[in-house]
């Protein structure tokens, strides 16, 4: 636990060092307000990224020359109706797919040039996924669910069980290590999924409609958990179409027809000389 926190802290610190004018990460105390989060250099940088799907004769331009930067340590909500391109953007941020054109870099590496094995390793080491339907493995106890990303890690850590147990304790499920998904409530299942997403100490937590299958009270608990994790330094990217869920994020980016039509940071980016959306 302590070691993990240090790792995250170090990473953020390093990023800060490369960008001297960035806010120092001592701003943890005022994070309750949800504004003025500590942010480092761009963890994700998309430059004129397009994604075109071809189905027979027709080709669909899901993303149209989108440029976007997401800073390390940020809490971002990506919004939009279905077909707006937000899911395509999420797939690119999650290193699940490569852009058709443009450059897409995650933590300084361009994913367009990567092999599928390199993408898999990138996802394993840097990105934690949380899904709407939890996507837990059937008939597998919670502890083993959380161990899964560690099993695919290179190099494979020796103390898988201990790490996984720690993560489950972190999400408040320390007493449910041996429970099967069918023995857990929806909120608990999503917590297992979050523990699984965190187990490799990723830089990015990518959540796709994480509360879509939960009631409002459980949704709130999950969102508070995300907020706490963000406060501890992890970059959280939330894909949702619900405004009240997006409200937990510091920055909101709205997609329509494959372009960004609204970005709450637009003004700030202009001031900092960033890429216009």
């Amino acid at each position: 636990m302590i070691a993990d926190a240090q790792t995250v802290g170090q990473t953020v610190g390093q990023l800060d060092a490369t960008k001297p004018d960035a806010t120092k990460p001592d701003a943890k105390s005022d994070s309750k307000a949800g504004s003025a989060q500590p942010r480092g250099a761009a963890l994700i940088r998309a430059t004129k990224v397009s994604k075109i799907y071809t189905m027979g004769e027709q080709s669909v331009r899901a993303l149209d020359a989108v440029s976007l930067e997401i800073a390390a340590g940020d809490f971002v909500a990506i919004m939009g109706a279905s077909g707006s391109g937000k899911s395509t953007m999420m797939n690119l941020i999650g290193a699940l797919d490569r852009p058709t054109s443009g450059t897409m870099s995650i933590d300084g590496r361009d994913i367009a040039a990567m092999t599928s094995d390199e993408l898999a390793e990138m996802r394993n080491a840097k990105i934690g996924f949380v899904f709407q339907q939890f996507n837990l493995l059937a008939r597998t106890p919670a502890l083993r669910q959380v161990m899964l990303p560690l099993q695919y890690a290179h190099p494979r850590p020796a103390n898988l069980e201990a790490i996984a147990r720690q993560r489950l304790e972190q999400v408040g499920l320390g007493s449910r290590l041996d429970h099967m998904p069918s023995q857990l409530s929806g909120g608990q299942q999503q917590r297992v999924a979050i523990a699984r997403a965190l187990v490799n100490t990723p830089k990015i937590l990518l959540a796709d409609e994480p509360t879509g299958a939960l009631d409002s009270k459980t949704s709130e608990e999950i969102m508070v958990l995300f907020k706490d994790l963000n406060r501890d330094g992890i970059t959280v990217i939330l894909v949702t179409h619900e405004l009240d869920i997006a409200a937990y994020a510091r920055r909101k980016i709205t997609f329509r027809d494959g372009r960004i039509v609204d970005d709450s940071d637009q003004a700030a980016n202009r001031v900092a000389g960033g890429v216009p959306a």
Partner: protein, 410 residues
């Protein structure tokens, strides 16, 4: 992902569809079981046939008279010309490579000792019989030429007769009555076992040829120097085919058979005859081998089918594994391990079933069961290979899935 991880995942997946998994392995079970039966029974039967060939006596020819009857001609008794002592002497003198020769003149009748009686085969033999037939005397003494010259009333008993008459008493030195004549038991023969036709070869008594001709085998039917059938043992350098032709030529000449006329005798190499039975066994072996190959192929197709279903059912799981960092190779290995595990379970069940069936067959046929560890290794190897071959295509399909589409599937 270590091999143990893959194995655990495979086991969880197979157990969650237990009935389906068991039904799927049936083809493999049958295939492997038939491999086991094939080898166990096949080698058991083969060793049995080899034992029977050895029990006939090695490097041996047998001469029968009266082949006309065997050929199905309606020949009366007069047309048969029995083999005689002079025929025997001629063969011994003129055919090269003869080590030992003996006649065997068969009759049958009751044998009595005390209150016990038993009807058995009574054979007159020459002194070389034990050598020719590789049939030693285990207690007491064999006949000597003196016994033959003296027409001695002495007998050697087969094990079955000893058991029937003496019931644990000492047989050697006892006096038994054969067709009401008293005979001294000089020795007991070694156990020979059943013949290739299932006849109990130990159910007989032997006496000197001269005695048998004179007292036992109904004098009136017997020519003065008849010897029944002739057993001839050759040295190991002699080609039995040549010897067989030489004997045929000699006997045709002695019996004045004109060219073109059929033989009224028959020279046989019984070992050759037995070898024909091995051929039958080989045919059986090939049939069983074909059965197991077909079962393994059909079983493999069943495995492939179920693995494809499994890949479809678990598309989301595959997507998730890819999302959390599973590489194509990891996914491929996982499904291959699953197919091989399924096949190996089938292989183990098949081994148990096959061993059981082989034991039952061997027990019914009184063959020894021979299940060598190498046979089990072979059968399990065949099962594992089936898993790899037929699991490859489904595994490749799983590994080739697009993670985004896989995650989105229902």
């Amino acid at each position: 992902m270590t091999f143990l991880d893959s194995l655990r995942i495979a086991w969880t997946a197979l157990r969650s569809n237990l009935l389906r998994s068991i039904l799927t392995t049936l083809g493999i079970v049958i295939g492997v079981a038939s491999v086991i039966i094939l080898v166990a029974v096949g080698s058991g039967a083969r060793s049995e046939v080899e034992k029977q060939i050895a029990s006939l006596g090695s490097n041996m020819l047998v001469v029968f008279s009266g082949s006309s009857r065997i050929m199905g001609r309606a020949a009366g008794a007069g047309t048969e010309l029995p083999l005689s002592e002079t025929d025997m002497a001629a063969i011994r003198d003129k055919i090269s490579g003869v080590v030992a020769i003996s006649g065997q003149l068969n009759g049958s009748g009751p044998v009595v000792y005390g209150n016990a009686n038993w009807t058995t085969t009574i054979s007159g033999i020459h002194a070389d019989f034990a050598t020719v037939r590789d049939w030693p005397v285990v207690s007491g003494r064999d006949f000597n030429p003196q016994d033959l010259r003296a027409t001695a009333k002495v007998a050697l008993l087969g094990q079955t007769v000893v058991k029937q008459l003496f019931q644990g008493e000492e047989a050697v030195g006892a006096t038994i009555r054969v067709k009401n004549a008293p005979f001294l038991v000089t020795g007991v023969l070694a156990t020979k076992g059943p013949s290739s036709f299932g006849r109990d070869q130990d159910d007989l008594i032997l006496m000197p040829m001269t005695t048998a001709r004179g007292y036992i085998v109904g004098k009136s039917q017997v020519q003065n120097d008849q010897v029944g059938q002739l057993y001839i043992k050759f040295d190991s350098l002699t080609d039995l085919k040549d010897a067989q032709e030489d004997i045929e030529a000699l006997l045709r000449q002695r019996r004045r058979i004109q060219p073109g006329e059929e033989d009224n005798f028959n020279v046989r190499n019984l070992a050759e005859f037995m070898k024909a039975r091995t051929e039958v066994l080989n045919t059986m072996t090939y049939l069983l081998a074909a059965t197991s190959a077909i079962s393994l192929i059909v079983g493999g197709i069943g495995i492939m089918n179920i693995m494809l279903v499994s890949v479809t059912e678990r598309t989301r799981e595959i997507g998730l594994r890819m999302a959390v960092g599973g590489r194509r190779g990891d996914i491929m290995r996982q499904f291959l391990v699953e197919a091989v595990t399924l096949c190996l379970i089938g292989g183990l069940l098949g081994t148990a079933l096959g061993a059981g069936a082989a034991a039952v067959i061997a027990n019914a046929a009184q063959w020894p069961v021979l299940i060598a560890p190498s046979v089990i290794a072979l059968a399990l190897g065949a099962a594992a290979a089936t898993g790899v071959i037929f699991g490859f295509f489904p595994a490749r399909r799983a590994a080739g899935l697009n993670p985004i589409e896989a995650l989105r599937s229902e």
